[in-house]
Structure formats: C-alpha cells, structure tokens
C-alpha cells in the first residue's frame, strides 16, 4: 500500500486543495468569504465543510466505515440540500473533485504502474463515497419535503384538533 503512504504524507496539501475546490463551487464573492472568515458562528458553511472533509479523507485511506462516513457527510449535505442554487448532481460533485486534486498532487508518482493501479482502486472508493453522498443528500431532501408538508398542519391544525374545533380526521390534509 504505497499509495496510502503517499496520501498520508501529502494529506495537508490535498485536504486544503480539496477544500478550495468545494468552496469554489460558490460564486466568487461567496467563496472568498467562505475561505476567509474563520469564526465558525459567522461562517457555518465554510466551517462545516472544513470540519467534514478531513475525516472523510481519513476514511478513504482507512476503513471506509459507512456510519462514520455518513456522519461526516451529513452536515455538509444538509447544507447543500437547502442551497437550491445547486442541482442534485452539483450538490454531491464535490466528492468526485477529490480525484482531480489527488491526480494533480501525484503527477510524478503515477508514472509508476503499481501506484497507478492502486490509484484506480482508490478512485473507486471515492466513487463509492460519492454514491453514499447521494443517498444522504436524498434523505435531506426527503426531510425538507416532509417538513414542508406537515409544518402548517402541525402548527395550526393540531391546536384546533385538541380544542375539538375541527373533526378528527380530514382527508384533505
């Protein structure tokens, strides 16, 4: 597993460039802000991304534990699911952009066939993570739809129902 060692060595640079790529999916004024503002409360989006991608990278070089991965994907995708400027594919594409970052950083090393083969295998792990990301994204969207559908009802209808001012079941709702 020579590739893993290389990736561990270059981790800091790779994660930083990956972060920049994720953040550059936003319009210029926004990406500058996301990179520059370090206070996590003034910049929850930038902070969530930077908190999430390093452990995701670690999972790729380590166990690929599904629960761990999901737990780090969720905060990022929860945000991208409400940022409707992204289509679903654009929302999850940041996972795949890691491939580009790694290739750039291992330009020299990939002339070695063995490393190249390992890299192809590694990239299929990135694909796998991308698919997991899509599942997480869909869950977030479903949650939004559920909230949309029940918000009004929970607020008003329930109160009226408890007060006995409306019939108990109304199919129209």
């Amino acid at each position: 597993m020579r590739l893993n060692d290389l990736l561990k060595q270059k981790k800091a640079a790779i994660v930083k460039q990956w972060f920049d790529m994720v953040v550059n999916t936003y319009p210029l004024d926004t990406s500058q802000f996301l990179k520059g503002q370090k206070d996590p409360f003034a910049n929850p989006v930038g902070n969530t991304i930077s908190q999430g991608i390093e452990p995701l990278f670690d999972e790729l070089i380590n166990k690929m534990d599904q629960n761990t991965i999901t737990s780090f994907l969720e905060p990022i995708l929860k945000i991208r699911a409400v940022q409707v400027m992204f289509s679903p594919s654009q929302a999850v594409a940041f996972i795949f952009s890691l491939k580009e970052v790694i290739r750039k950083n291992l330009k020299k090393e990939t002339s070695d066939n063995e490393i190249l083969n390992e890299l192809l295998l590694f990239e299929s792990k990135i694909d796998e993570m991308g698919l997991m990301a899509f599942d997480v994204f869909m869950k977030c969207r479903e949650k939004i739809y559920a909230i949309k559908a029940t918000d009004e009802r929970n607020r008003t209808f329930k109160a009226f129902e408890r007060a006995g001012l409306v019939a108990e079941s109304q199919d129209a709702w």
Binding site: T25, P27, P40, P44, K78, F96, I147, R155, F160, G164
Partner: protein, 537 residues
Amino acid sequence: MAALPKSDELFSKINYKPPQSGWMDTPAVLREGMFCFAAKPKSVETLSLPYPREWNPRNDDWLLPENWKEIIYEGMKDRLGRFRTFKIFMDICVRCGACADKCHFFIGTGDPKNMPVLRAELIRSVYRNDFTTFGKMLGKLAGARPLTLDVLKEWWYYLFQCTECRRCSVFCPYGIDTAEITIIGRELLNLLGLNIDWIATPAANCYRTGNHMGIQPHAFKDMLDFFVDEIEEVTGVRVEPSFNKKGADILFITPSGDVFGDPGTYTAMGYLMLHHYLKVNYGLDITWSTYASEGGNFGFFTSNETMKRLNAKMYAEAKRLGVKWILGGECGHMWRVINQYMGTMNGPADFLEEPVNPITGTKFENAKSTKMVHIIEFTADLIKHGKLNLDPSRNDHLRVTFHDSCNVARGMGMFDEPRYVIKNVCNNFYEMPRNCIKEQTFCCGSGSGLNASEDMELRLAGGLPRANAVKYVHDKHDVNMLACICAIDRAALPPLMKYWVPEVDVTGTHEMVANALIMPGEKEKTVNLRGEELPGK
C-alpha cells in the same frame, strides 16, 4: 427525440463552475423553494391595493400594467421626497462591505445578491439611473442601470429574501438600515400588485375579522375557553378570563398565533394563568379583546398605510373599553410597529395613562408615549419585586437557551428582561456565543412574512446561522429547549430545529413562567401544560 448529452457535456455540467460575471450581468434565476406564492387577488382587493390579479412568478409574463415603469418611477420619486432615510440610504453607501457577510441569508444561501450591500444596490442602481446626474451621464460606470423587467423580477426575488431583521445595520459605519430599503422596495412592488400571499392574505384577514388567521370572534373565545379547561386539568384551578370588559385596568393584546398555533398555545395558557394569579392576589383586572385580537401586523410588510390601518384597532379598542393602558404579549414585529411607529402613526393616545405597574409602582418610562408595555418587562418587574411565587425546579427537565428575536432585541434593546425572567423560572440556562445573541442575534430566517411552506428551503438556509449556534449549545451543554419571546419564532423555529437540531424543542417564555408559577389553590401538579410529567413526579 432529443439527443442524449455526451458524457463530457454531462461532466462539464457536474463539474460546476459558478458564473464569474459581475452582479449586474448575472441575471437572477428564480428557484423553487426560494420564493412564495403570489398574493391572491381577493386579498389584494380587500386591502384596497392596486392591480389585483391571478399571476404566477414562474411565468414569463407577470401581467403588469402597461405603464409599470412609470408607476415605479413616480413611486420612487414620491418616497424619496417623503422618507428622508430612503433618500439618504440611496446616497451615502460607500460600498465598504462591512455589512456584506452579516446577513443570515447570505451566510446560509451563499448567494452574493443576499449581501445587504448588493440587496440595496438592486434598487440603488435604478435610483442612480433615474435620479442622479452622474448616473444619467455615466450609466454602468457610475453603478447605474435602467429598470427592466429582469431588474423588476430581481427586486421581487431578493426583497422577499430579506426578513428586515436589521442585523446588517449594526455593522454599517453609516448606520444604513437595509431593512428600510427592503420596506420601501416592497411598497414599490405593491404598487404593481406584486405582494406574496403569505403576507397579503393574513393582512386581509386581519382587516376583515381582526386577526391573521381569519378566525371569527366566537372561535377566538372558544379557543381560550379550551385553554381554561386545559389549565384546570393541569393545575386544578379554573381561571376566568374576561373579554371586552369595559373599565378593566389593562387591555391585553397578543399575536393570534399564540391562540391558534402550537407551541404558542401553551404560551397563551401561560398568559391566562399569570392574569388569574394577579387578579386573585392583587385584584388586577386584565381583559382580552375579540376585536383587537391580533397583535401582529402583516401590514408592516406591505405598506405604511396598510400597517397604520391594521394597527389602529389597538388604540380604538383601548379607548372604547376605557382601560388605563395596554399590555402586549410575546411578539417581535408587533413591537417594532408599536415601539417605532404607533405613537406618531395612530397616536397620541392621550386617553390612556402613562403605564404604571399598580402592583409594584414601577413606571414604564419607555412606554410613556405608546402606553403599551411588553409582557416580558412586566413579568420581570413583578419577579424583581418578589410578587410571583415561583418554583423553578418544575422546569428542571429543561436545559434552556434563548433566541433574541430581532425586533425586540435590535429594535427595542430588550436584552436583559427575558434572561432575567428565564433565570428565575428555570435552573439550567446556557447562552449561545456572543456574536449570535443580543444586538448581534441571528434571525430565525422566517420573519417579515416569509413564514410560508413553499419557501422552506429559503427559511432553512436563512435559519442556518441561528440553528448552528443552537447546535453548539446542544452539543456542549445538552440544551434541549429554545426559548423565545416572539410568536413568529414559535411558528418558525420548530421546523428549523426539526431539520438542523431535532433534539431541541421550542417554547415561549411565559409557558415556562406558568409552569413554575405556584397558583393559589392549585392541586398537586404532576404534569406541565404540555401534559408532560414533571421532574421527580
């Protein structure tokens, strides 16, 4: 059949690069989830506002009147003359950018046009073009552009992505209040019948039946009667609210959301218990009105005139009943209207007395002109003078944080009163970080009439900075309850929490007051107003 895209085409789309053009050259794209339904013609008509019609923001044709540009031009001219702030705010921005990253909608959506400075530029650019010599001469070089249909649509889209929360104004060295620019911008849109339904219909309901929900007086009373039964079940005490009582000491007005929507209903029960407690112990006579049955004012999000019209019933009812002064429930924008406009708009209310708490003797100097006191100040004053018998341990299962609503915090400077009350009625209180509270509070993301369901993505994105701070205190201190003193918050924060921090629930502050209040003649309580078991019972 349309050809399938080639794989490299697909990839180039997925490998998304945002537009790098300047904001003026990047046309607005109206995205689902970010905007509300158009105002129903019937509601626009009820409010006697112009151009009621069925129109749909998704369609290219918004069915505007032929001379719409002229209407906007004249509307701007008129307002530049009438409102000095508008004129000044159009002229003095130096585009320093201090406000740019302070808006929760920019932070949450990542859309640069939600930077306050750009939101204002949307209108300012047209102002420069039509009303300044430089703009007329130099056009785009001077930051000017003519009003086109695309520009108008951009206005509509982004002026209804501002909750008029004024966070940006706290950071502007010139004190420019983008909220006021939004307010005027929405007025201009209303000249063309371009309101959203979540504002127009509640405002019309209010005009017809006295409250936003369109509930008639008897149903209003039915709901309060139901609360009386619920309170009796929990405490064993039957409270006796009075309605439209002439000669009562105080008229009580709260947003109708507290009467008709959860979890505000529990706060309304809290008011009823407090009123009863004060009646039995101190003989204070507080009455509700079925006519002035709405504290909120969605006219405020429509136009100056509509706001004035809806607000007028408060003083009218106080006068008719002959009360001494008015006590107002937990609300946000209701207080902005009262505190900032009511005194001059529908006053002076010289038929009322300067508010004095008859139980403690405290003079509410700040309410000298409006004659209306916020219940959180009133309760804080009662507690300070030891007039309430409280057992905070009844709220021991709660680990509470407090959301400052923009209008009472930034608009009225009411920071300490709610915290004082909360700390006296519960034992576990934790603040969110300093740059998320008090004058820097983050909006719930749903204020100023954006509290609909169809724009849920906008609300959830705009509420992210608030939810993020709640999540922090939840993770760190196990906080499980978010308290507030605003009816819109009580409606807006539950879905926000459900999405971002599902472990945290939402409560009005007077719900907690009532749960801690030891009522004269109460039975041994085992549950709270929500029917949940009390700690240790």
